[in-house]
């Protein structure tokens, strides 16, 4: 019989944000979006700053914004180790958020691809965009 649920943990250095059995988890790695269903093979990937969509057993969704990290499936258990994460509900929408995106993009413009700071600046842009996306998505899933 197929396993019905996927145990999923979202762990950050400041604590465990989510720990429950779910139906599906969707996140983004450097190659694009990927989804994990129950009975996934053992799998390791990098997670870029993105919105992690969790489909719960009752069919509703939970959204998280993660600032990048690693995802691992081991023996059917999905663990996302994120350097930081917040729930979509915690993102404050408004002027500050759009300013954050503009500021992050400007910073990225000023940095050459070969500089060590480029990687972090790119991550900041991705994170700012992910937070904006979370605000839009949370209105839809509600």
């Amino acid at each position: 019989m197929a396993q019905e649920a996927l145990p999923f943990k979202l762990i950050t250095p400041t604590g465990v944000l989510f720990d429950d059995a779910v139906r599906e988890v969707i996140a983004v790695n450097p190659l694009g979006e990927f989804g994990v269903l129950p009975e996934h093979v053992n799998y390791v990937t990098a997670v870029v700053p993105c919105v992690v969509t969790v489909k719960l057993n009752d069919g509703t969704f939970r959204l998280f914004v993660v600032s990048g990290g690693l995802a691992e499936v081991k023996d059917g258990v999905l663990t996302i180790l994120a350097s930081s994460a917040e729930t979509a509900e915690a993102v404050v929408e408004g002027e500050a958020l759009s300013q954050e995106i503009v500021a992050a993009e400007q910073r990225l413009q000023g940095i050459s691809f070969y500089e060590p700071a480029y990687h972090n600046a790119l991550k900041a842009v991705q994170l700012a965009r992910a937070r904006e996306l979370a605000v839009r998505l949370r209105a839809q899933v509600r």
């Binding site: 943990k9 762990i11 950050t12 250095p13 400041t14 604590g15 465990v16 790695n29 450097p30 190659l31 990927f34 093979v41 053992n42 799998y43 390791v44 990937t45 990098a46 990290g69 690693l70 691992e72 663990t79 180790l81 350097s83 930081s84 060590p116 972090n120």
Partner: protein, 287 residues
């Protein structure tokens, strides 16, 4: 013998000192509880990461680039403020010992000072300081600070400016015992990975590729290690301050009781003297 007035003034002064030390002890106790909680919260992340690093790196370490300078970078995590007993002194002694040991291996040693106490110390000794971080923030251990230190270490390490990087922090054993600890961050110590590692990397489907994932794992690992060091240091600092302030409050209480005794004796002596004067005066009149 001190006058009654001087003793009274002295008691009042010790009492107000005791009030301050007692308040500081209570504040440190509350902060310690929070720091310990943060230390516990970090555990699942650190364990998950070290398990993953163990199975993916599988004994492979990141070696310094060829031609790297014979220099070691030590980040010393001290406190911004004093009144915490021997906390900073022990830590800095350990730092100097470790530096001497590295120098005897033919390495140059450069320090990165976290906290004002370490920065002041290295300024005094004239040691080579690569940078410093004085935050004066209510919380020492933040992910942002840890990431900035770890990223700085990684960048400098990759650029070949340092052959190895390490942190020195106070390891939090208990509220009564904290031990300065030296921990190498880069190159990642191979012993740790194999200890936690179960199974080879072949068990996993890896995206984008193992070669691309390893730098990220090493980065996360370094960040997590530095964050852990900051958490330990924060808990240790509050524990040390709590113990020191508890001792100071007790000493103040002892001093107050001693001074009270002295004051009573002085007052009694005064009364006796006055009585003698009266008796002497009366006798002189009747005589």
């Amino acid at each position: 013998m001190a006058t009654l007035k001087a003793i009274r003034r002295r008691i009042a002064s010790v009492q107000s000192t005791q009030q301050v030390t007692r308040a500081m002890k209570l504040v440190s106790a509350a902060k310690l509880r929070r720091a310990q909680e943060a230390l516990l919260n970090d555990r699942p992340y650190a364990e998950g990461l070290s398990r993953l690093a163990g199975s993916l790196l599988a004994g492979q370490t990141m070696e310094p680039p060829p031609g790297a300078k014979k220099t070691a970078l030590i980040a010393v995590i001290s406190s911004d403020r004093g009144l915490c007993g021997g906390y900073n002194a022990n830590l800095l002694r350990q730092a100097e010992e470790q530096a001497a040991q590295l120098r005897s291996q033919g390495l140059q040693v450069s320090f990165f000072a976290v906290g004002r106490k370490a920065a002041d110390h290295f300024k005094r000794t004239g040691a080579l300081v690569a940078g410093q971080q004085i935050n004066n923030a209510p919380r020492l251990a933040t992910v942002e600070l840890a990431n900035s230190i770890a990223d700085m270490m990684l960048n400098e390490f990759r650029a070949g400016n340092y052959e190895q990087t390490a942190v020195i922090y106070s390891h939090f054993h208990s509220a009564l015992s904290q031990r300065p600890t030296y921990e190498r961050i880069l190159p990642v110590e191979s012993g740790k990975q194999t200890a936690a590692g179960v199974g080879g990397p072949s068990d996993y489907l890896i995206e984008p590729s193992r070669a691309e994932l390893i730098p990220l794992i090493i980065q996360s690992y370094a960040q997590s290690a530095v964050y852990h060091a900051l958490l330990e240091a924060e808990a240790s600092e509050h524990a040390a301050r709590m113990t020191a302030m508890d001792a100071a409050s007790n000493n103040a209480a002892d001093m107050i009781s001693r001074l009270t005794l002295e004051m009573n004796r002085a007052r009694q002596a005064g009364i006796t003297r006055e009585l003698m004067d009266i008796v002497g005066g009366a006798e002189a009149l009747s005589a």
